[in-house]
Every structure is written in structure tokens, then in C-alpha cells.
Symmetry: C2
Subunit: 391 residues, 2 copies
């Protein structure tokens, strides 16, 4: 445990220099404005929350929460997502506001580092929650808004993978009713997108050949709308059937929105299966391995805050989008430098004020030594579109 | 140490509902745009920093820092201001960029609560740092920009109190050379604006009558530019004299900016005297007891990060400004609600898309049960400028 060097910062956190900030701000503004046009109003919640309420309710595993103690010895967490804080607000400050409630946010969230290289400990999420509407229309609305938000952010090519945790819950309950551990092991494999591990786990369970084939067939349940019929044939379990019927309706609404061309059905994708209760989705940009957005339905969360209500939502992974899109920095108008000596100071400062207010130019002013000669290059280190001398 | 209720949040932190967020965003945008026009580019730094570097270098007292441990046992802090993190960036990522460097920020900062009621543990600061220019012109620039920023934020009536820590350092060194404890005690009184305590401390020191009168006279050193002559007569100490000469030049530049009407000279105001090294200032809005901005020169900080350079800057106390200015929410255009049944879903969603893109309206959509009758009020709980039914 050596002392950090003066210029170091903690692992997994970033500085954003002006060029990156300008891009980040542009994404933030475009996406929040898009969300506003869909009826979502922005909310800001604190960075610190109680561990026993929001910390426990969040979908982040306990070991990934940044924890600290307040003066009274109560454990606090740095928020790890915005969904649980928003549930708290909907159930408290907004408890008189009728449902459905539509809220948006842009915020940094925190996850304590695993020892994985390159994982971020602080990153931005820009997202929405739609609380109080359990319909397929509400699920489709957040998927369609995720698509509109990615477009607003400047992501041009992407696909949304759409699934439903209920299908797999139903299928596994039907086929492995008395083996909850096996169910969890298989779900963990799918959560980690580990198809090899899934097949191996299946092989180790000593199942009958037909059940094993049925469960292997799950890995093929991704593609176009033909997957609905395929999945329906695979399981007769009522939960599995109801989940497919709901997802099919979400698909129909997405067709009505005219955005189903962006969407693939993927029943192997279950997201965080202890948290989501229905439809789940992830967005992938072309040539980019990690998801750029994720979301789904979480109908149990609001109950934990004392205002039971269905809810659905998503978050853009804003930092990943920042890496994807071009900088656009070239748009920036060059700045002007006014250099002056004391005797013409007032004139120079008045000119600066005029340029700033007239055309919104970026204008720097600098007093130079009295013996400075016109055009001396040392004055103008840095890049300026124009240098005006007042002496 | 009882468990928090589900709807509670930690002491000293806030939720901002949409109306407050919209005001906060307006202030943020106007002020950052004003700063950009003065040549300041925005930077974002992490919420977490190392205690041993940025934590120690910050002007926040140790007991007010939020501390936590990372996985390696190194102490982290939640940033308590933006000045120290920016010094770190100027000395590392920007070390090749020639001085002067102008940077702006809008960020939340954190101070562990004292037991004082109503103190905030997380609040916003919007500010600038001007690194690499030690002139009176640079000091005046940040004061003039603070004035322009308050105006951009919508604060109409305010005064800036302008002082210089060097004057008091010099005067006390001259009069109480061998009594550093007495010097500190008197400075602490002024820092806390405790004039009664200052007089009492003076009385307890057993000083000669002339020295005591001289030190009591300090309390009268606030007013217009006549204060410069008054102060110059009071102390012959070279540091005190040089400080007044510098402050007088800052004043002249502020006259050249045409903003000296907003400024009062106040040599009893010393800010954090272990941190600031020269000019300091605070802004007060009419009828508001707490400062709405504060700043000053800190020429020793950058040395701690290995790139010695003079520096000056300020931060608006954005939360206090949020309380001061009117909401302006009335400008918000009402939103539109489109209600539909399944058979006209596609038509309704197309209309929503059209309204959203044509005039940037906020449009919500909602599917209603098939047996809903036109004009049923239950559909439209909430406030909408217009409700359009598709059934």
C-alpha cells in the first residue's frame, strides 16, 4: 500500500478534457431532449444513498457497491444505478402524483472495481423509467425510445436484442422442477453468455435425452419473429407461454412504431434474472462488443419502497457511446486573443465584451509587458483564430 | 443506529424534481456558455480522488472530507472542490499545454456534515480556474467573470466584497511578530466574521494602547476605494503595502471592465487564509445572508502537483442561486396525450412521432382498455395541454 503519486487518480475513474466534455455534453443534450419529447421529465438524485434501502434494492451485487459510513455509523452507498433511487422518489416525494410517471436522468454511477482490467468504477448513464404501466405498449415504448435515443446520440448502426426472463424461468421450472441449483447454474451460464459452459452444465446433470435436447434447443432461440413459434413449441409451461405471448405483442407494437427492423429476438439473453421480471433488452452497436444500452421490466422493485407498481425502463451506457461517435470538434469556432498594454486596457476590454455578446465568440484577453513589440510570437502561444493587438 | 426507513435519504443530500432540474439546467447552461465566451473550456474530473494527493491539497478541513478505502487499502475522498482536481490535471494530462490555461466546470462536491442544521453534504459548484497568470489583470478577469456569471444565472442584485489576505498577514506580522498564536486567533475571528470575538481577543492580549487601536481599526476597513488610502496609512509593513498596491490595480482593471459599481473593498474578509495567497472575494445577493460565490488567488497549490504556477479562480454556489431565482416554469409548453385502442395503435404512434419531430412537443401515448368510452376522464389523470383520442 504505497502512497499514490501526486498526478495519479484512483483506478477506473477518468478525466474528461474539453474535447471529450464537449462531445459528452452534446450526447447528453440530444438524448435528454429526445426523452423530453416522449414525455419524460428529468430528475436528479443524490450521489449518496442508504445501503439498507437503495443499496439493497439496486441490481448491483453487494461486493460491487462503494460503501462508507456516515457520522452516525449508518452505511451509505454511492449510487450504482438510477433505477432504485427513482423508485424511492416515486414512492416518497412523488407519492401523490398519479401513475403512469415518466422520468429521465443523466448521471454518473459507481461500481467498485473487480480485478478486471479496464472496468470503469465511475461512468455515465442516460436513461428513463416508466412507472405504473404493465402493458406490452409500455415495454415497446421504452424499447422504441431506446432506439430513438441511440439515434439522437449519433449511433448509426445498432441492433436491439429483445428477450423475456419469464420464458426461461417457465421452461426450467417445467424441466428441472426439483433441481433449483441446476436452474441457477444454467441461468448463470446464459447471463455470462457462456454457451460452452451451458452445454457442459447440461451434460453434467445426467438428464434424459429428450429433456437435454429441449434445453440445448434454448441456445438456438435467437433470430427474427420465427423465434416466437419455435419457443412456443419448445415449452408448454404456462409462464413460458404467457411470456412469449407478451413478447410477441411487444414486437407488434414495435412494428407499429416502425422500428422492428432494429430488433432481434433473443431468448438466451436474460439480463439480471433476479431483478428483471419480464421483457429485457440490450443494444449493440456495429463492431462493438459491449452493449451500448440495456433495460427491461422490473415489476417487484416499487413494492420494496411501499408503492407497488409495474415499471419498465432502460439506460444508455453513455461512456461507450462517447467512444463510438466521432468528435465533431471541427465545428468549434476558433477563439480570439486580445493583447493589450495598460494604456489601452479599457479599449481592449470593451472590444472583448462587444465580441462576446455580439456573436458569442470565445475571447481571451491578456496584458503584455510594456516593452512588448507588435507581432511578438511569444505572446500568442496557443491556437487562436485571430490575435488583435492593442498597443 | 436504527435502520433507515425505505423512503429516507442521507442527511444533507437532495432530490431535485423536474421543475428544479429545469431551473438548475438553465443556470448551468447560461453560466457555462458565459464562461466559454471568456475563453474557459469545460473539464470533468472523477468524483473519487486519492486522499494523499487531491484530498490533502484541497482547502477543505480534514474532518469534512468523505473518506473511503479502495480494494488496496488506499484512502479515497469524494471531491470537496474542483480546484485541487483541476490542479492535478493541469500538472499531468495538460502538462504540455502552454500557460495560461483557462478551465471551467459544473460539478457536485461533497462535505461531510457537521452537526449544523441545514448544511448540505452534496452541492453544485459552477466555476473557473485561470492558471499561469499572476497579474492584477488576471485577478480582475475572474472577478469580472464572476459578475458576468451571476448575471447570466439570473441574479439581479448583488455585491462583490473584495479583499487581500496579504494585507492582514503583513499587518499582524508587524504588530504581533512574536505571537503567532495571537495572529491565528485574530484571523480565525475574521474568518468567522466574528467582530465581537476579534475585539475580545484583542482585549485579552495585553497590548499597548496604540497597537490595540491599530488592530481595532482593521474592522473599519470595508467600503469604497477610500479604503486603499486608509489601509496604507494603517500599516507600513512591505507585504501589507504591496498587497494594497496590487488590490488597487485589480480595482483599476475592474473600473476598465466597467463593473466596479458591483464591488466593495473589504480587508476584513480573508477567506481561507491558509489556502489563498492574494486577492480573495465573495459575492452576496440582496437579502441573502450566505455568499453566492467565492474565489481568490492560490499561488502555492500547483507546486504541490509538480507544476509551479500562479492561479486564480472562483466558484458560484449554484444551489444557493437556485433558491434565489424565480422558476420560469411557466414557459414550459404543455404536453400532449394521445390515447388509443389497439386497432388504431399504428395511427396514434405515427401521429406522436410527427408531433415530436415537427414542433418538439412533449407527447405521451397510452393504450386504453377496449371498452373505454370517448372523453372518459379517468384516462387523463395528470395535466395535459391537449388530449387526442384514437378510438
Amino acid at each position: 500500500m504505497s502512497k499514490p503519486k501526486v498526478f495519479e487518480k484512483p483506478a477506473g475513474v477518468k478525466d474528461y478534457l474539453p474535447e471529450a466534455v464537449s462531445k459528452l455534453r452534446r450526447i447528453e443534450k440530444s438524448v435528454l431532449d429526445c426523452m423530453r419529447r416522449w414525455g419524460y421529465e428529468q430528475i436528479v438524485t443524490p450521489t449518496l444513498e442508504y445501503y439498507d434501502t437503495v443499496g439493497i434494492a439496486s441490481s448491483t451485487s453487494d461486493r460491487k457497491l462503494f460503501k462508507l459510513l456516515d457520522r452516525n455509523g449508518t452505511t451509505l452507498v454511492m449510487r450504482s444505478d438510477m433505477t432504485a433511487p427513482i423508485a424511492r422518489v416515486v414512492a416518497s416525494l412523488l407519492k401523490e402524483q398519479p401513475l403512469p410517471i415518466r422520468l429521465s436522468y443523466h448521471a454518473s454511477v459507481f461500481r467498485a472495481m473487480e480485478d478486471e482490467a479496464g472496468r470503469e468504477a465511475e461512468f455515465y448513464q442516460t436513461g428513463v423509467e416508466l412507472v405504473g404501466d404493465g402493458s406490452a405498449d409500455a415495454d415497446a415504448e421504452v424499447v422504441a425510445l431506446a432506439i430513438a435515443s441511440l439515434q439522437a446520440a449519433g449511433v448509426e448502426e445498432f441492433k436491439i436484442a429483445l428477450g423475456h426472463v419469464g420464458f426461461l424461468h417457465g421452461l426450467l421450472n417445467e424441466t428441472l422442477k426439483d433441481r433449483p441449483d441446476a436452474q441457477t447454474a444454467l441461468k448463470e451460464c446464459l447471463l455470462g453468455r457462456d454457451y460452452v459452459g451451458y452445454r457442459k452444465t447440461l451434460g453434467d446433470l445426467g438428464l434424459g435425452i429428450s429433456v437435454r435436447r429441449e434445453l440445448e434447443e434454448v441456445l438456438r432461440l435467437h433470430g427474427g419473429e420465427e423465434i416466437f413459434a419455435h419457443a412456443r413449441r419448445l415449452s408448454r409451461d404456462p409462464l413460458a407461454q404467457a411470456s412469449i405471448a407478451h413478447l410477441r405483442e411487444v414486437w407488434e407494437v414495435l412494428q407499429a412504431y416502425g422500428v422492428s427492423g432494429h430488433v432481434l429476438i433473443d431468448l438466451t439473453m436474460i439480463g439480471d434474472f433476479s431483478y428483471y421480471t419480464g421483457m429485457t433488452f440490450e443494444g449493440y452497436a456495429a463492431d462493438h462488443g459491449f452493449p451500448v444500452c440495456s433495460g427491461g421490466r422490473y415489476d417487484n422493485l416499487l413494492t420494496q419502497f411501499g408503492r407497488p407498481a409495474p415499471a419498465t425502463g432502460f439506460a444508455l451506457k453513455t461512456n461507450r457511446i462517447l467512444e463510438l461517435i466521432p468528435s465533431g470538434r471541427t465545428e468549434k469556432p476558433g477563439s480570439v486573443l486580445l493583447v493589450y498594454k495598460t494604456n489601452r486596457r479599457k479599449e481592449a476590454l470593451a472590444k472583448a465584451a462587444e465580441l462576446r455578446s455580439a456573436d458569442g465568440a470565445s475571447v481571451e484577453t491578456r496584458r503584455v509587458p510594456e516593452n512588448t513589440k507588435p507581432g511578438e510570437p511569444a505572446l500568442t502561444s496557443g491556437e487562436y483564430a485571430e490575435v488583435i493587438e492593442f498597443f
